[in-house]
Subunit: 402 residues, 2 copies
Amino acid sequence: MNTAEIIHGLAANARAAAAKMRAFSTEKKNEALFAIADALESMKPQIIAANAEDVAAGLANGLSAALVDRLTLTDARFKSMVDGVRHVATLPDPVGEQIWERDRPSGIHIRKVRQPFGVIAVVFESRPNVFVDTAALCLKTSNAVILRGGNEAFKSNQALNAAVRAGLEKSGLPMDAVQMVETTDHAGVTELVRSVGLIDVAIPRGGERLIRAMCEAALIPVLKHYNGICHVYVDDKADLGMALSILDNAKTQRPGTCNAAECLLVHEKLAPMFLPMVKAWAADKGVALHDDGVGVEYLSMDLNIATVKGVEDAIEFINEHGSHHSDCIVTSDKERADLFLRDVDSAAVYWNASTRFTDGAEFGMGAEIGISTDKLHARGPMGLEELTTYKYTVTGDGVIRG
Amino acid sequence: MNTAEIIHGLAANARAAAAKMRAFSTEKKNEALFAIADALESMKPQIIAANAEDVAAGLANGLSAALVDRLTLTDARFKSMVDGVRHVATLPDPVGEQIWERDRPSGIHIRKVRQPFGVIAVVFESRPNVFVDTAALCLKTSNAVILRGGNEAFKSNQALNAAVRAGLEKSGLPMDAVQMVETTDHAGVTELVRSVGLIDVAIPRGGERLIRAMCEAALIPVLKHYNGICHVYVDDKADLGMALSILDNAKTQRPGTCNAAECLLVHEKLAPMFLPMVKAWAADKGVALHDDGVGVEYLSMDLNIATVKGVEDAIEFINEHGSHHSDCIVTSDKERADLFLRDVDSAAVYWNASTRFTDGAEFGMGAEIGISTDKLHARGPMGLEELTTYKYTVTGDGVIRG
């Protein structure tokens, strides 16, 4: 079989599994999640051994230390992964939830109800725990999922796949609700995103290059997160202690995350007073300051600084150079804050709070499959609800349109 | 300027207009809609003259009678188009509407608020009133729109564009909130759907060929409506009078619409009794019956018939051969109806009611920009709400992530 045939076969199996998934109650799905967690624990030795092979191959192939670290399933990461599956079982099930209902003068009664997408394809890189996290979220929402991980984690993913499918089998859910792409060529990804009618949506969980390649090839919708070029704008009416505290948190708490700040905007009137404070803070914390990094996603202890004429200027700067992810204004002026909150065209807009809060758990979603920088369907953190669509059910007593 | 430069220029103008649109209140937007309606009325002679030129050219070029009819702006259609603009002004404004708000233990307060997309591109065919309908819906939702109509309606659209922009100018809204693509080559459409970062979403309002071409080229999201292959399944526990009445309405009330039935499924036990009734009805109404039209969208007085073993078989048939648009079960058995409503994977699923109700006005949305057969973002009729995205506004008193 060539790659196209393999992917078509997986997609057809997934479609059939998705049709069966509709019949399972929340309780049954949760039971399956617990069975998967148990299977992961009982198959831990095989999984860790497979992961050790991947790590050894990675080291031999000269994978960077950062990538080797991301690839490695430590005991703590393994436990957190299994805990994650059991946590998803405790979350509310969005499937079947009624969004609204109405009676119409024609005599029809309409209900708008959340439904699974059907089949989701997820393409991810390096970290093998993503395989399990994603499978759990998709199963909880009655979706079938096809997972395509990075080649450097191939054996780890195979072992995780076996455990997840063992859990599904044990609990009587269709095993093909979770499938792994076992071809390693890039054509597999292209075939996935061109599977119109079989796969409903593709979600890349990886770098910008992967995402762009998927979007270029895609005929099916892609839910994506490009990058996080987040700004903190410090207004001349800001409390400077608060501004520095927010900047510090947004930049240094976890500089490698997408919701970390990459650019500080300072009101020009405030600059003479505030910039020396920023320089002292940067020296103390080991942050390198730049003035030529407009639109750069550093993901490191680097920060670009620019001055602006005021809030309107800041809004324009952010909308032009940011990535529509998370941006913050620090000010005591409500009118300026309201303008910023209204006009900055980002998924999450902050007033006197750190951009680091853009996160499914911090937003109270319970779990997260990613953060969307798209505007269609889902924007910002994507939880279980964002893995569903809806349908209208319409009932009548034989009513016809006049 | 080549086509790419022209489209890029339009998109940049639209982006700037979209940023300005955020500042206008509902009242101000409604004022602009009324000004547009007035401008259309005062410029009616020029519009009708331009339309007459298009019609004459169409006749000279051998356009089909059906297309010439769709192209023609009669007095009644002109009035209905202008009334439509004033009607949109009376509808509730979704922009700024709060979807939910919550306080989090961290100390942040989150609001999820509806927002305009920004810039929408709409590509449509033949009927010039679509230009005005679409502009009104996009303006009401604070979006800027770029419209690309069919070449056969080029002069009509130019005249309508002039009137709409005159209305915008008079009311102080940015004129570039509505722009028309005045290049006639297909490359213009391709450039539109590849304008990442400038155009947020593309909406085709036309045939399947147009939609497929746009999806193939697209790098931006496309909200689309492929086709309507709708089914009526008559269960052996159906009231036969009701079944025939629903079938008649779904097939014959307006056979050219996407929510008209194309296929009748009959429970095999019922077939000996019901099919003769169907044949008599078809003969009476002039409906041609087929048994080889599985998956065909007739849009005419033709109907395919198949027998099925029961509700499960009907569900499988519909999910495989339908277009996930609107499908109906006629039965007095609640259990079977519930199964049908749950498992048929369509935008609208009916129990004892005609599929013809799938329509923005019938669903109480006030207006409709189309019916989505997608599952992402919008499914089924798309009204004003479906022309918006959302953002999270997060406020705190200097709170940082721990």
